[in-house]
Symmetry: C2
Subunit: 351 residues, 2 copies
């Protein structure tokens, strides 16, 4: 199988994906019979490149590392913007890793819709389109009989959606409980371990590249809200929007709170919950919780994440992801591509 | 899709599977378009029943609960033994949950081989055939283009093999580390919590039905050996046999050892490891290990289990199964059946 792919978004994750496609090239060919050719790369800051004959990922990675634009490896008349890139790029699968827009998921939501309408497989790591348009996009992909996968939108590339779809198929998931946001988990860890105030810990996380210049998306709980919505909407048969989630971030957590919890044998974590209610609906909440130190969630420190699935047949399954990196997120996208290669979307279509 | 199935083995797991097939009947039909009819049940102590028109699972469960034989619901001339049951039963999928034979995996190994040769899908919860014949059976299933699934052979029905096959597809697993045997984990927990000697704790586990009359399979580490072999052979591309695993059970662990470890801030656990060596081969070992209390493995108590996957793209993924029951193991078999229904074996065939 020959697969022409394009990368839209070439930040940490997009570049890690490019590296991974190089590293895994032989494995993809030998074990999955997939010859993958990258025919386009679209970036926010380094321009766009299309080459139907195949772009050298090494050249593209070097160009961006040295601050050059990608126009030098583009073939044909110049590409003005991402929309025209997507119209002209001859890819049958697009990897999308643009920054999350927390207001309405745009412009990625429109990009993905348009790609699926044209019968192009989409793999996204972007929470925005998922939080604002999952069911619409999923139905569209089914109509068009193409793959739409999004493993890397939650817990980097750890297979938390795959576990629900494959490992818990036929089970009834009554509750999902998780620590999903690595930035706030790192901040809370540093406050406790290094005796830092919230502002100091945020600053340190920003210096390490873990927090954005505007840390609100993480610190005020929005990232966690998006992720718990994705889990609930994909695996628990509901259709929540961000405003449906009871949300409290860690903005008001002080060093005193943390030390007081510690003295009581507890630890504060930003916990996400989605729970089936007696009437069958799903209630979702994000907020700081004081956990006993014996709670497995309490020992998930730094940038690690954790999720509990509660089901009718397996009372509690806990999955912990340790030490993720952009490569981990890129891996989730590679796994999704292999789901397209393996036709994993076809059964879903027939449902 | 109409699916005729048979149950070979009708102990705790087989009966839990029968209950689950009843509970999940509507879901199987509505969400997976699978109408499942049980056309045969073969037991060690309650005889055999075949009915091409479908056996009432409720009747069969009641019969066995009240100590009756199944012959009363059998249609046709009597069935003498499991071999003739398998020859005559008109099933296209057989669930096998016979007791594990630790010597050579027989007779289940022969039963499965013969079923696959006849083009019948097999779902097994039995470690014996897997430890002694996995690669042969897998190749045979591929040749015959039928499904051969075995999720419940390791960690009850927690999706530890599915995670490897689906959630870590394309990743290179360099190490698997686990606490797989719930009987010894329960024994070690009770020794520490209740100040019991090994013999007392074994006796308690036997009274609860967690340990066999001859506890050797668990206590001497054989069950753990079989499970780590299955993980290594299925997910790490090797072909280990029981004799290849360095094995030490908990037979020599005393209450003093446990209290001494505890005083040092440690806890003794029976740990399984399979690790890729510099030369590419896989080394596997089972033995009691003293773990720091801060190690997540140290807080897996009672009958719970845990596994770590170390891979090139996701440094460490930890999966914990809490509070399993026979229903959990039965669920793994149901999940495997859904993999057959979804044609999950077809891609593997094309490899």
């Amino acid at each position: 199988m020959h697969l022409n792919v394009a990368l839209v978004g070439f930040g940490n994750v997009g570049r890690a994906l490019a590296e991974l496609l190089l590293v895994k090239q032989d494995l993809l060919r030998d074990e999955h019979h997939a010859i993958v050719r990258v025919v386009g790369i679209s970036t926010n800051r380094h321009g766009h490149a299309i080459d139907p004959a195949g772009i050298s990922l090494r050249t593209a990675l070097d160009a961006v590392r040295f601050g050059s634009r990608l126009d030098g490896i583009h073939e044909g008349r110049p590409v003005q913007d991402t929309s025209s890139f997507l119209e002209r790029c001859p890819a049958s699968l697009v990897f999308e890793s643009l920054p999350t827009n927390p207001i309405d998921g745009q412009p990625a939501l429109d990009y993905i819709r348009s790609l699926l309408q044209r019968g192009i497989h989409v793999v996204t790591a972007n929470k925005g389109p998922m939080a604002f348009g999952y069911h619409e996009l999923k139905a569209l992909a089914a109509d068009q009989e193409v793959g739409f996968f999004f493993e890397s939108t939650v817990m980097d590339g750890a297979p938390v959606l795959s576990i629900g779809r494959e490992g818990l198929v036929g089970a009834d998931i009554s509750e999902v409980r998780a620590i999903f946001n690595s930035t706030t988990n790192y901040i809370l860890t540093q406050m406790e371990y290094e005796n830092l105030g919230l502002e100091e810990a945020i600053k340190e996380a920003q210096e390490l590249g873990l927090a954005e210049a505007d840390p609100s998306l993480d610190v005020d709980g929005w990232d966690s809200v998006f992720k718990i919505i994705i889990m609930a909407n994909v695996l628990m048969g509901t259709d929540l929007r961000p405003e449906d989630v009871t949300r409290e971030g860690i903005r008001n957590i002080t060093l005193e709170d943390i030390l007081e919890a510690r003295a009581a044998g507890q630890r504060i974590k930003l916990v996400c919950e989605a729970t089936r209610q007696p009437d069958g609906s799903i209630a979702a909440a994000v907020g700081p919780r004081r956990l006993l130190l014996s709670d497995p969630f309490a020992s998930v420190m730094g940038t690690s994440s954790v999720i509990d699935y509660c089901t009718d047949v397996l009372p509690q399954l806990t999955v912990i992801e340790n030490s993720p990196s952009p490569t981990t997120t890129a891996y989730g996208m590679l796994m999704d591509m292999l789901n397209v290669v393996r036709g994993r979307y076809r059964f879903e279509v027939s449902e």
